[in-house]
């Protein structure tokens, strides 16, 4: 999930860096204010610890994944849950990513902003609030941590795919499907590991997790968060499948079959494409238009496909919503 240099155009890379910096500054402020100076060494050492955790090879022999590509635990959800703030994850993962980028070349320098957003901000916030809300509603830390762990891997992977798609370096469908499926499985491991790790920590050092005890907030507000996260989840889960109805290859065969394009040159006439779809609909008697309002995302001139944007937009809105709501809640306390 570490986007290397060169895969994001410089303008977008800078954009992500700016967003990331906002969160880094926020997390620094959090480190200073809420945790006071005493936590700075703690967080620094924990960052090294999370780095060590990330090196634990989690390449379980899941034969589902061809080639047995290895993955490792990100640990963002765990850090956020145990330290009681998503900013802890942002802070720690930023340090980890800086080191990985500058020292190992794992994840680029220009693309580091995007990586921080994915693995620090999104993983931390989604992990934390998923855990909080599920735990508040169902009072089950174990499952809450499991789902939080899963989400903290899955959502960033989807967003990472979207970022690559927006950059135009990877087709959206391919990115979403491959990243989504792969990380849905990896997420199970992350979830399991997060849940068991948390249960051990609660047993051995309950005082660490103490600050996290379910906030006595209004149930309604928590329900909103749960609902928000559920919707985000739903989008996230269905997005790849939705998009996968358009794998490139399938798409182009379909189009060539209806004579929109010849087999050697892909130069698609958009009006013909629409006509072809209509023709298919007539032939199959299926009037349900499963095409998004925008036809193919590989069309020249149409760089930002609407549905990809829609996913990004949806995720961001929910994210901001969740964050805002939780802010309101915490301020009341």
């Amino acid at each position: 999930m570490h986007i290397p240099d060169g895969f994001l155009p410089i303008s977008q890379a800078i954009g992500y860096w700016i967003i990331a910096l906002v969160f880094i500054v926020l997390s620094l402020r959090w480190a200073k204010r809420e945790m006071s100076e005493e936590k700075v060494p703690l967080v620094a050492v924990l960052a090294a610890g999370i780095f060590a955790i990330q090196t634990l090879n989690m390449a379980l022999p899941i034969s589902v994944i061809p080639g047995g590509v290895s993955g490792h635990v990100v640990g963002a959800a765990l850090a956020a849950i145990v330290l009681g703030s998503p900013f802890a994850a942002v802070f720690i993962l930023t340090l980890v990513l800086v080191l990985q980028g500058i020292f190992f070349g794992d994840g680029g320098i220009t693309s580091m902003g995007a990586n921080i957003i994915n693995m620090g901000v999104l993983a931390g916030f989604f992990g934390f609030y998923t855990y909080r809300s599920i735990n508040t509603v169902f009072h089950n830390r174990f499952y809450a941590a499991f789902i939080a762990g899963w989400i903290s891997v899955f959502i960033p992977s989807i967003v990472c795919a979207v970022e690559l798609a927006v950059a135009g370096t990877v087709p959206a469908a391919f990115a979403l499907v491959s990243m989504g499926v792969y990380h849905a499985v990896i997420g199970i491991i992350e979830g399991g590991v997060t849940a068991f790790a948390l249960s051990l920590i609660i047993l051995a050092r309950p005082d660490i997790v103490g600050c996290e005890s379910p906030a006595k907030t209004g149930k309604a507000k928590d329900m909103i968060i749960v609902a928000g996260i559920t919707v985000a989840l739903a989008i996230a889960i269905f997005a790849p499948y939705y998009a996968s109805t358009y794998p490139d290859a399938l798409d182009s065969t379909f189009l060539s079959a209806y004579g929109v394009k010849d087999t050697n040159i892909v130069h698609i006439d958009q009006s013909k494409a629409v006509l072809a779809e209509v023709a298919v609909a007539e032939k199959t008697g299926n009037t349900f238009s499963w095409a998004a309002p925008l036809p193919d995302y590989t069309l020249p001139g149409l760089d930002k496909p609407g549905k990809v944007l829609a996913i990004i937009f949806g995720v961001l809105v929910l994210f901001i919503l969740g964050f805002g709501i939780s802010r309101v809640i915490t301020r009341k306390n």
């Binding site: 249960s199 051990l200 047993l203 051995a204």
Partner: protein, 282 residues
Amino acid sequence: MHLIETRNLTYIYPGNVTALHSVNFVAPRNARIAVIGSNGAGKSTLFKCFNGIFKPTSGSVLIRGEPITQDNIREVRKFVGIIFQNADDQIFSPTVEQDVAFGPTNLGLDEETIHHRVHEALKLVGIEDLAHRVPHHLSGGEKKRVAIAGVIAMEPEVLVLDEPTAGLDPRGVHDLITFINSLSKQYGMTVIFSTHDVSMVAEVADYVYVMNKGLFVAEGSVEDIFLQPDMLKSIRLDVPVLPKLIRSLQKNGVPIPMAYTYEDAEQALIRAYKGPQKDTPQ
């Protein structure tokens, strides 16, 4: 056939640190072997070669006469149990019982056997009552025992202990020494240990290897080794205080036989004073 034997074992860490240099080590059945040496001599590295955690850069390690291969590595690890210095590195589970069960479970034993072994192991190290405690809350000495129990539950025939007494209080050291001796006497186990505490060597070991900078510079019985104080001093070690004292007396013309353990030294001194009389009753 020896239980453990190394032949010209050389181990080089990535980064060209030669930690072991053509080392020949032999552990016969039912022996108590001490490996002593200064900080960085290579003791821990040697021990890690015994159960295939480190693969020799050159030379070989034979376990019951056979080299360690990918096929027999599980057997080897079951046969040679290692307890490292820091108990915290070896305890991962939420309860003592689960932690001790970790090894047997990995061996694929059935539940009943596991249960039986866990309780046998806990009984052996004397911490049955801690079975349901959280290991992270135990004292240093108790954690050490949990780590030992975790390895004993795999029923190894050779027990390797890396600096087992570090950080324990005098009573803890005494208990551990008694425990190691009983393993050897009652269960016929072979025990190999390293330590910086030379007086422990005299109390526990039958045979001593002296390491320096990745080489064995001497080996032999406790007597052989502690007869060479200058050699020991030159490699940052020392003779235990009792033989040192007796040697000094001998040099000063006191007719007294050499002794290494506390009891022997006491008897020797008393006899030397009283002359050739009858044994003094305790």
